[in-house]
C-alpha cells in the first residue's frame, strides 16, 4: 500500500485502527519529497525534524487511546506566504530571505493544535504576484503531469506538491485565481472560499480587499475536512465574519435535482479555445444527466474584470509592500550612507513583477489620478458584484472554465505583463465579488488537465462542494 496515495479519511482510519503509525505516514511523505522534489521544486523549505516530532506526538496520543482529529497526523504543506513559527517564511522573495517568524498564522496555529503535520513551505510567485510561479527569487515549481511545463500560479508549489502525493493537502492563497488556476493546471481540487470565511492573520498580504486563504487537495471530501477545521471568525482578522462553520464533510451528498446551474454566455465566447469549451460543456451536461437544471445566464460586465483587478490589486500592493525596507525584517545592506539609500538598496531585492505592481499602484493612487483609476475601478467592481447578485436570483451555482488554456511552458505567457494579466480573465470576477469558487478537474486535452470552476454565492461553500463532489 502506498501511504501517500490515500485520501485523508483513509489515512485517518489507518491511524485510528493502528494499521500504520503517524511516523510511517510522515516518513512516506518525506521520502516522496526526497524522491521527487529535485525535479518538481515544489518546496523552498522542508521541515523534516519538526514533522517527525509532530508525528511522534500523534502516535503517543493514539497509543494512549486519546481521540484524534481527522487531520491529526496528516502531512500537509503551506505556500511560503504563511507565517510559521521558527520556520523560514520568504513569500518567495529574496527581500524576506532568512526571515523566521516568531508566531504562526492563525490557520497554521489551528492545524498545529489539531496535530496536522507540516512538511514544509511551497514555492510560489513572489508575494503571490503571478500566474505560473515564475516570478520568484527562488525555484520555479514544475508540473507533475509534465515537468517541462509550469504548475501554474501563484500557488504553483502547493499544487505540484498535492498532485504528486508529496503531501495530502496544501494551503495556498487566492487573490485573483492563485489557487483555482494552479489546481486547474495540475488536475486537482482547489477551493477559493468566500472573502471573510478563513482568517488571514499571519498570511503575508498582497491585496487586502481581495486576499483569501485557499485549500488544495486531491478530492472534494479532503477539501471539506480542511475547510471545516480552519474556517471561522478570528479575533485577529477583523474581516472574518461571525458565521457558523458547517460540518462541510457531512453535507457533500447533495441532490442535484434541486440545483440550477448557470452557464454565463460571456465565458463561452468564440475567444475560448474550442477544445476547452467542449470539455467543460461535457462536464456540465454530465451534471444535467445527474439531475441538475442548466440555463444560460449573462454576466454583462465580465470583460471589465481584468482592468478593475489590475488597478485595485496594484494599488493595494503598493501600500502593502511599503513595509519591506529591510529594517524590522529581511536582509539589509551593510554600512548605508543614510536611511534613504538604505531603503533604495534593500528594495532592489524585489522581483521585477513586484516592482511593476508597486509602480502601477503608486501611479494610480498618486495625486490627480485616484478618481480616474482607483475610484473608477471600485465603481465598476460594484457593477460586477450586481451581475452576480442578479444571476444568483435565478441559479444556485455558476459553472465555467477556470482558465482558457492548459498547463504552459516557462516564459510562454509571462514575457509580456499584459498577456499574463489577461490570463486571469475567468477567475477574477468571483474574486472581485468576494464569492466562493471551486476548481474541479473535468477532463483533459492531450494529457493535460482542464478545470471547471463552480462559483457559488458568498458563503455558499457547502453548495459548491456538494456540486463538485458530483463531477465525473
Amino acid at each position: 500500500m502506498d501511504l501517500t496515495d490515500l485520501s485523508i479519511r483513509e489515512a485517518h482510519d489507518g491511524l485510528k485502527t493502528k494499521k500504520f503509525a503517524a511516523k510511517e505516514l510522515a516518513l512516506a511523505s518525506l521520502n516522496r519529497i526526497k524522491e521527487l522534489d529535485d525535479t518538481l521544486q515544489a518546496f523552498i523549505t522542508v521541515c523534516e525534524n519538526e514533522a517527525m516530532k509532530k508525528a511522534e506526538v500523534v502516535d503517543k496520543k493514539i497509543s494512549e487511546g486519546e481521540k484524534i482529529n481527522v487531520l491529526s497526523g496528516i502531512p500537509y504543506s503551506a505556500k511560503d506566504l504563511f507565517c510559521t513559527r521558527g520556520i523560514q517564511t520568504t513569500a518567495g522573495s529574496k527581500i524576506l530571505e532568512g526571515f523566521v517568524p516568531p508566531y504562526n498564522a492563525s490557520v497554521i496555529e489551528k492545524l498545529e493544535n489539531l496535530d496536522a503535520v507540516l512538511m514544509g513551505k511551497n514555492t510560489e510567485d513572489e508575494f503571490g504576484h503571478g500566474i505560473s510561479s515564475e516570478n520568484t527569487g527562488f525555484k520555479v515549481p514544475r508540473n507533475p503531469i509534465d515537468p517541462t511545463r509550469t504548475a501554474g500560479g501563484s500557488s504553483g508549489g502547493s499544487a505540484a506538491a498535492v498532485k504528486s502525493n508529496e503531501v495530502f493537502f496544501s494551503l495556498g492563497t487566492d487573490t485573483g485565481g492563485s489557487v483555482r488556476q494552479p489546481a486547474s493546471m495540475c488536475g486537482i481540487v482547489g477551493l477559493k472560499p468566500s472573502y471573510g470565511r478563513i482568517s488571514r492573520y499571519g498570511v503575508i498580504a498582497m491585496a487586502s480587499s481581495l486576499d483569501t486563504v485557499g485549500i488544495l487537495a486531491r478530492n472534494v471530501e479532503d477539501v471539506a475536512y480542511v475547510l471545516e477545521n480552519i474556517a471561522g471568525q478570528d479575533r485577529f482578522d477583523a474581516t472574518t465574519v461571525p458565521k457558523d462553520v458547517p460540518k462541510y464533510s457531512e453535507k457533500l451528498d447533495l441532490d442535484l435535482k434541486n440545483i440550477r446551474i448557470g452557464m454565463p454566455k460571456e465565458y463561452f465566447t468564440d475567444d475560448l479555445p474550442k477544445d476547452i469549451s467542449e470539455v467543460v460543456k461535457k462536464a456540465i451536461l454530465d451534471l444535467e444527466k445527474k439531475g441538475a437544471k442548466i440555463q444560460e445566464i449573462s454576466l454583462p460586465h465580465t470583460k471589465y474584470g481584468v482592468a478593475v483587478y489590475y488597478i485595485v490589486c496594484p494599488c493595494e500592493v503598493s501600500a502593502n509592500m511599503s513595509r519591506y525596507d529591510g529594517i524590522r525584517f529581511g536582509p539589509t545592506i551593510k554600512d548605508p550612507q543614510d536611511l534613504e539609500q538604505m531603503y533604495l538598496e534593500n528594495r532592489t531585492k524585489f522581483h521585477p513583477e513586484v516592482k511593476r505592481r508597486i509602480m502601477i499602484g503608486t501611479y494610480a493612487l498618486s495625486s490627480g489620478y485616484y478618481d480616474a483609476y482607483y475610484l473608477k475601478a471600485q465603481k465598476v467592481r460594484t457593477l460586477i458584484l450586481k451581475d452576480f447578485e442578479e444571476a444568483f436570483k435565478h441559479v444556485d451555482v455558476i459553472c465555467c472554465p477556470t482558465a482558457p488554456y492548459t498547463a504552459f511552458k516557462e516564459g510562454e505567457k509571462t514575457s509580456d505583463p499584459l498577456t499574463a494579466y489577461l490570463s486571469d480573465v475567468f477567475t477574477i470576477p468571483a474574486s472581485l465579488a468576494g464569492l466562493c469558487s471551486l476548481n474541479m478537474p473535468c477532463g483533459e486535452i492531450d494529457g493535460l488537465p482542464v478545470g471547471m470552476q463552480i462559483i457559488g454565492p458568498q458563503f455558499g461553500e457547502e453548495r459548491i462542494l456538494g456540486v463538485g463532489a458530483k463531477v465525473l
Binding site: 532568512g98 526571515f99 516568531p102 508566531y103 472573502y195 471573510g196 480587499s209 479575533r235 477583523a238 474581516t239 465574519v241 460586465h301 470583460k303 471589465y304 481584468v306 482592468a307 489590475y310 488597478i311 503598493s318 511599503s322 525596507d325 529591510g326 529594517i327 524590522r328 525584517f329 536582509p331 539589509t332 550612507q337 543614510d338 536611511l339 534613504e340 538604505m342 531603503y343 533604495l344 528594495r347 532592489t348 521585477p352 516592482k355 511593476r356 508597486i358 509602480m359 502601477i360 503608486t362 501611479y363 498618486s366 475610484l375 473608477k376 475601478a377 471600485q378 465603481k379 465598476v380 460594484t382 458584484l385 509580456d416 505583463p417 499584459l418 494579466y421 472581485l432 468576494g434 458568498q458
Partner: protein
C-alpha cells in the same frame, strides 16, 4: 495614456524604488501598455454608481480589550538584522 521616462522616475522615487536606466525604459513601455488597457473602463458611465471598497458588509468590528500576548517584544526585535539598543532598532540618521 503614455508614461514618459520622467514619469517613471518620479513614481519610482515616490515608491522608494531604485531603477536602472534600462528598467526605466522597460517600465515606461510596459506601464503605458497596461494603463492603456485600463481605458476600457471609460466605456462605462459610473457617475451614479457607488464604489465597492469591501464585500463583507462588516463595519466597526470590535472586540473586548483584553491583552493576549502572542509574541514577546524580544522575539520581534530578533527578526531585524540591524543592531538593537535599549529595546529599539538602530538605523542610520535620516539627514
Amino acid at each position: 495614456m503614455a508614461l514618459s521616462s520622467d514619469d517613471v522616475r518620479k513614481i519610482a522615487k515616490l515608491a522608494r524604488l531604485k531603477l536602472s536606466e534600462e528598467e526605466v525604459k522597460t517600465y515606461s513601455e510596459q506601464m503605458t501598455s497596461v494603463l492603456s488597457y485600463m481605458d476600457i473602463l471609460n466605456e462605462l458611465d459610473v457617475s451614479n454608481v457607488e464604489p465597492t471598497f469591501q464585500v463583507t458588509g462588516l463595519t466597526n468590528v470590535r472586540r473586548d480589550d483584553e491583552i493576549k500576548k502572542m509574541v514577546e517584544k524580544e522575539d520581534l526585535l530578533d527578526c531585524s538584522n540591524l543592531p538593537v539598543e535599549r529595546g529599539q532598532i538602530k538605523v542610520k540618521s535620516v539627514f
